[in-house]
Symmetry: C2
Amino acid sequence: MACTVQLVARPKDPAVRTQLIERAAAMLRAREPITLRSLVAGTGVSTMAVYTHFEGMDGLWQALRQEGFTRLGARFATVAETPDPIRDLTALCAAYLDHALTHPDLYRVMFDASVDLEDLPAADATLEQLVQAARRCRDAGRFRADVVPLDLAIQSWTIGHGLASLVATGPLPPETLDHGPFLLHALFTACGDDPHGCRVSVEQGWRRPAPDDERSRPA
Amino acid sequence: MACTVQLVARPKDPAVRTQLIERAAAMLRAREPITLRSLVAGTGVSTMAVYTHFEGMDGLWQALRQEGFTRLGARFATVAETPDPIRDLTALCAAYLDHALTHPDLYRVMFDASVDLEDLPAADATLEQLVQAARRCRDAGRFRADVVPLDLAIQSWTIGHGLASLVATGPLPPETLDHGPFLLHALFTACGDDPHGCRVSVEQGWRRPAPDDERSRPA
DNA sequence: CGCTGAACATAGCAGCGTTATGGCATGTAC
DNA sequence: GTACATGCCATAACGCTGCTATGTTCAGCG
């Protein structure tokens, strides 16, 4: 209809957006409280920039949540694919826990109370990587044929998130993570994997430091 | 030394304290934002009461967290002990999930970012009930003798908290909880229980509505 | 070149948790 | 029986929060 009108405007600088997100992530890492004014202080921009780029603080938190899932996805991508899919699935779970514990504050933001439906695609993309690994496990014949990859992915996620959450934001000490291999081994053998081969796969997949790239960023 | 002085004072009314945390719990259930002024509005007391009883809002949140663990403990107490300890342990996990999903907001408060060391005893008391159930499982000969009750309790908690957290504050739908029996069965058989008997025990323990007493409290 | 309209800066607003101040009820001491 | 000390609680103010209203600047098109 009247959509022939060509609107012109001063383009918003995408560098400001990433600058704000990175500064917010840095403040999160430094455990400084993130407030609108403290966020823009130091940068040249004013408080209004947060509104043009994120439509308020809620939008900033949401962007931070997305950033967390993006970094988790990048972390997953560093897990090299091996001929042993169970080892790979275990490595993904280990990477999940490593991500959660090297960035506990970002992890808290990812799962805090105000999860919006906007965030579901990001979470789904993360889950999808687990699903594919689970599918490879089944297709490789390690599991019974009736194992549903999505179910196994959710079950793996449950274990990973339970451990990460109880340690990162909860009352249990970091050693709790050592229960990971046992729980995953129990899950995988319940899906039909041979106990002995499973133990080897899980142990191989679990020890995978694969250092996170965010650990020493210049302040 | 100079402690011979006998201090006298007007006693603080404990009814005010319980009134405030019950009102806060009610507001939490109603999904109303809890603010200092909105909390005391309607009650006869003023904002200062929050400071005399809780030393500020942080103290109120902490009291609310304790209340959550207390109610969880009461919910656990309703799980009757049967001759089948694995059924009982499963029932405790089911009660945990039921508690988390009938009071999702309270559950969020229990595990939110600002967990204080003051809250650890409450969490430990909760865990202890799982530990005792796990010990009964092992002592009944259902598990291998080398199973450590504390480890099994933590592992059960991990599964329960992972499911509860992903559903109550996370991106997964309530049907996700149906993975509970499978995960617990995998865990218990990994500890040495007979697969068939374990399936029966878990199924019996899982279906246990045992309605929560907080569902219809007069406003 | 002038116009349009979005991006950004500044200033002010309502609301938040917190704190200073003062009245008043309460339990002890004389 | 009365006077006093003590600390609960109400009132008012403070600094801070996220947010919005208003004005200015500047990129892109006719």
